[in-house]
Symmetry: C2
Subunit: 656 residues, 2 copies
């Protein structure tokens, strides 16, 4: 899979706290102990300190994960699981419910569950691995009660759970942990009203008010204003406390006991990255973007961070007369990375600035993903034409619609999974106005496989392909990013959706610079006379390229590989030409087969009524995307080179 | 098109106020007069009274439209267009902007624009007609600045407009009229924050606070709570006034002049149906549903209502010394209706109650469409298991997810256009949890053609077809509604989406009661040996049935017509069997070709690699749905019987 040649980093020893140490803290049978709900604030704080060590361990070992928001939530989460959630020992069907609405805090949650013996200790090494612990919460994990990864759904879900419980005559509290940036999502506010009018007092929401969202301060992105007043105006009982002071958390939760009828919300003032001085929000310098929202820390940061976390844990253990914390060590091997890769996001970042130079009516909109969407350069150069919308995709898209109606050319950004789905109707509405807006969805497709299916966007083509006056394209190379963006800005009569793969990938072919972008037409990546393979995007085409070479070498069958960057339109004349009598056809989708490009191509081929009848095989995603390393995920979904070789050999049985 | 046999009603004389009467009120050149912005409250009230007459005229003449919300907004809208919007005479590109966010008030807006001479008087007879005035605002109509029909987008759009204006150095105010039920949509709250922090003082929102949403009191559906406190907490300047007292409206708007920096909102307390005593909200009896939200009034209601409206107008004219109001009369002919029709919504209503009888964990959720979705009987019989969510589709779907996680079987309802798009990501999220929820989207497809493309749901299949663990089906007959709902409740392993056509239609074939529902398989509606036609749903199949008969009579070619109610899955073995060697294949979609059933079928047929190669033609929607009468719309989109005859003759050229 590409020319794996350089190593990333050195071997690194990683420390974790074994479950025996949690037992030493809690007593030999932690779950029995929980029944009493009498653990002191110091014990809870020490538990959180241990869990913080394991959180850093898991994320560093997995090479990815969300440190900042995991660290900010650990005292709250430890309090809930140690002293608040009733009947934990009866199993996750019978106890009070915990729902992480923000989802990014999954490593913290896993660390807490492992510390309590509710998840297997071996899972410490399985974060973001196939059949391990997914990057965002998934209900297949014990004690995880809701799938998250897209924001704002937690309270709605809690309401449904409470109403179902009431119908079944069961009384259970439901604790919902939200972020503060998350409150920019309209669904949060949409969900508040009926909780109050229906007196769903079983619901306790805790806002992890760490003041930083993905990129920077909530205050600078989209301020929350007078949060307490807002929440009270929606009919909720509001408390506020220091979310790292366990004694204060205890007082706050006991105050809630006096308000049985009303849904309750605790604003927990926390610090993003709490526990490691240089990861903490207040360490952020003016104009700097926060570095520990997602991704693994660099080696030095890991080592320095772990030193601080251990010191805190040891201090708390000493206070409790438990001596020092014993840790175990595993070794993380260096990660092999290809030397040369196509980096579409970096390519997009440059291309966007160039378009901005030329077009003074070009306006860029972002939903709190300025780094991941490649917008930093544009925002720096043209701050007046950069609109940070916050985590508010519906609002962003309708704003773009308004901008376009008044003569601007808006380019709208988010991850493909969110952009295609959350404001799906708003995109349709904008396109129905006949204006031009360019949508750019990054993180498209099956990989990176770490975040899990909430982020693996493999149904965005389907979700948007029926929108009138919207063309969908996906570039395979940095040069193609530039061409397609230029086409979208300069030539396209209507709106466009540019689907961007975010993983860097070594691509063994170049962009044919003489190629002219024309709707529904692609270009030949490598030639061959016996069969034809259609695909799009960097890694899909790169894998197909290698597979075609291997098939050619091993069977003698020669395969034409075609890049069709248009995802919802194909020119039938071009199609007939490019097939050129080849009878064996393979279509590849970095998307579900349902609604993907292969379906469009198979339909167009059927309508061509070619004689003799060609043999068509479509390859793509057919089940919910698995979470795992990129290699694991591609192999599981049969889109790695070896699987593509098999598919190609299957489709050309007469030759191979 | 069906056995048109009974007449609906008698001929009815309808009165309207010609534009000359508006001129008499305003002076000969109303637009010049507007520059002065000095029209007295009585003149504005009289203008509103005339516009109300024309609103009732248009809706009654069109046999459909939204009376209640049009009447409640007329004083506000008249005030805005007569005394508030600057530079109206310079054209809609150069004046202050009016955005109707609620959209239902389109007839009121048209009446005001016609009264001012900004729209042609002949348009009074063109409401909801092809190339006339669409049922919901569309930017192709002069002075309409945004497409609406789906709620909650207005302030977002206004923000975009203001930001574009600022970039262009233009200063324009933007007035946004919202409903009060509309405030249940999360996007409204999502949009408020940045308007305040960016100090978009150009925006003035007016909430038409008429207290009734589609079905009943806002208070009973999902109360708004302390609305002023909420809006203030979001950083907006809030005023409140009687929305029918023009003098109060004037005082309120002048008070806004003192607050240039902040976005402003006026809560206008109004009366739904204002102006006709028995249409007014307060006339609603306890437990009764509001009858004048949508649809034309019955004849007696029209006559009695017009008498009241004329009396008011005459009184105001007399006060102004203008004598009595002169009206013109046109005659509405009776509408011909078929005697026997399939009414899928009525069939669904019964079937739902029966399922509720059997399954005590079945819970019904609604988003303020209790009548239109056929839920009244269930809600009456099982009030504890009926959850009215209000206009909050995202919240509704995630609630259903929570209910399902705790053992309930939720059935979620809205119009197909909203249900498939607004909570698109929430549906994906729920399905990813592996629970079962049944989604029922009514008002599916191209007709009724009156509401316009915001409501004509012809991309819901596409928007949902890629969701894993979700099957989409569409019944053609009441009996099939019952079968498919029973399958969904009893047998389906996963979630299902039931797509329901709401128009009643005479269907010339019966349900084969021996048919067993099996995924991906359909049944033969009529047999024939030369060609095969696939379709689904009542009118599509009924029209195809008639067309097939006609083709058979005129050409001798015999056509097999197949109903495949499964929209995103097909069993290839069944498909091969049912095609049975026929070489001429036509697929029909009450949906865009992109992402419709035809695409799935053509793909499956291509994969069957039938020899000799079959000829395939797909017929379906290919452009944004037009607004018009059902006949106009079907003919325009070539899905009426005559067009289908042509398609069938085209696909079987060798025979016909």
């Amino acid at each position: 899979m590409g020319d794996l040649q350089t190593d990333q980093g050195e071997s690194l020893d990683l420390q974790y706290v074994p479950v025996t140490e949690f037992h030493r803290l809690l007593g030999s049978d932690p779950l029995t102990r929980l029944g009493s709900r009498g653990l002191t604030p110091t014990v809870v704080a020490a538990f959180a300190a241990l869990a913080r060590i394991n959180t850093l361990y898991m994320i560093t070992g997995a090479w990815s994960g969300h440190i900042g928001t995991s660290f900010s939530s650990l005292e709250i989460m430890s309090w809930l699981f140690l002293n608040e959630i009733r009947d934990l020992e009866k199993g996750d069907d019978a106890c009070d419910v915990f729902v992480s609405s923000k989802g990014h805090d999954a490593p913290a949650l896993y660390s807490v569950l492992i510390g309590l013996g509710l998840l297997d200790e071996a899972m410490l090494q399985q974060l973001r691995r196939l059949r391990g612990l997914p990057g965002h919460p998934h209900v297949e994990t014990p004690y995880v009660q809701a799938n998250t990864g897209s924001l704002g759904m937690g309270i709605s879900k809690a309401k449904g759970m409470v109403l179902a419980n009431r119908l079944a005559g069961v009384e259970r509290r439901v604790f919902v942990l939200t972020g503060d940036g998350e409150l920019q999502e309209g669904q949060f506010w949409e969900s508040l009203g009926t909780a109050a009018t229906r007196q769903l007092g079983e619901i306790v929401a805790i806002i992890d008010h760490n003041r930083i969202q993905s990129d920077t301060w909530v205050q600078d992105v989209s301020p929350l204003g007078d949060l307490e007043a807002k929440l009270r105006a929606f009919g909720w009982h509001v408390e506020r406390c220091d979310g790292h002071d366990v004694a204060a958390i205890e007082r706050t939760f006991r105050a809630l006991d006096a308000v049985p009828q009303k849904p309750k919300v605790v604003i927990a003032d926390t610090v993003k990255g709490k526990g490691v001085s240089f990861m903490e929000g207040p360490a952020l310098k003016a104009g700097e973007l926060y570095a520990y929202h997602s991704g693994a820390p660099k080696e030095e940061a890991y080592t320095a961070g772990m030193t601080e976390l251990l010191a805190t844990a040891n201090r708390l253990f000493a206070e409790l007369g438990l001596g020092s914390v014993q840790t175990e060590v595993t070794t993380r091997n260096p990660r092999r990375e290809p030397r040369t890769t196509e980096n579409l996001i970096a390519g997009y970042e440059q291309a966007l600035v160039r378009q901005g130079d030329r077009r003074k009516n070009l306006v860029v909109l972002d939903a709190d993903l300025i780094k991941d969407c490649g917008l930093v350069s544009f925002a720096k150069k043209y701050p007046d034409r950069f609109i940070e919308c916050g985590i508010a995709e519906q609002d962003m898209v309708s704003m773009a619609g308004g901008l376009a109606r008044r003569g601007a050319l808006p380019i709208v950004h988010s991850f493909a999974c969110f952009l295609s789905a959350r404001p799906n109707e708003q995109i349709y509405n904008q396109c129905s106005e006949g204006t031009k807006v360019i949508y750019v969805g990054s993180l498209a497709g099956l990989i990176p496989g770490g975040p899990g299916h909430s982020h693996q966007s493999v149904r965005d083509i389907s979700a948007l392909r029926g929108v009138a006056h919207l063309s969908l394209v996906e570039p395979a190379l940095e040069a193609e990013v530039q061409s397609l963006l230029d086409y979208a800005v300069t030539s396209a009569p209507d709106s466009m959706y540019i689907r961007l793969v975010s993983v860097k990938w070594p691509v063994p072919f170049a962009y044919p610079h003489q190629h002219k972008v024309e709707p529904g037409r692609g270009w030949v990546v490598r030639d061959g006379s016996d069969a034809i393979v259609f695909g799009y995007g960097p890694w899909l085409l790169a894998n197909a390229f290698e597979a075609a070479q291997e098939v050619e070498q091993s069977t003698g069958a020669s395969v034409r590989l075609v890049n069709l960057p248009w995802l919802n339109r194909v020119d039938p004349r071009w199609l007939r030409e490019v097939i050129g009598g080849r009878r064996y056809i393979l279509t590849l989708d970095n998307h579900y087969l349902k609604g993907g490009q292969g379906e469009m191509l198979a339909t167009a081929i059927a309508e061509l009524a070619l004689e003799p009848t060609p043999r068509i095989l479509r390859v793509g995603v057919t089940s919910l995307p698995e979470c795992g390393t990129n290699d694991e995920v591609l192999a599981h979904h049969k889109l790695d080179v070896a699987s593509l070789v098999k598919s190609m050999r299957y489709v050309v049985p007469q030759i191979a």
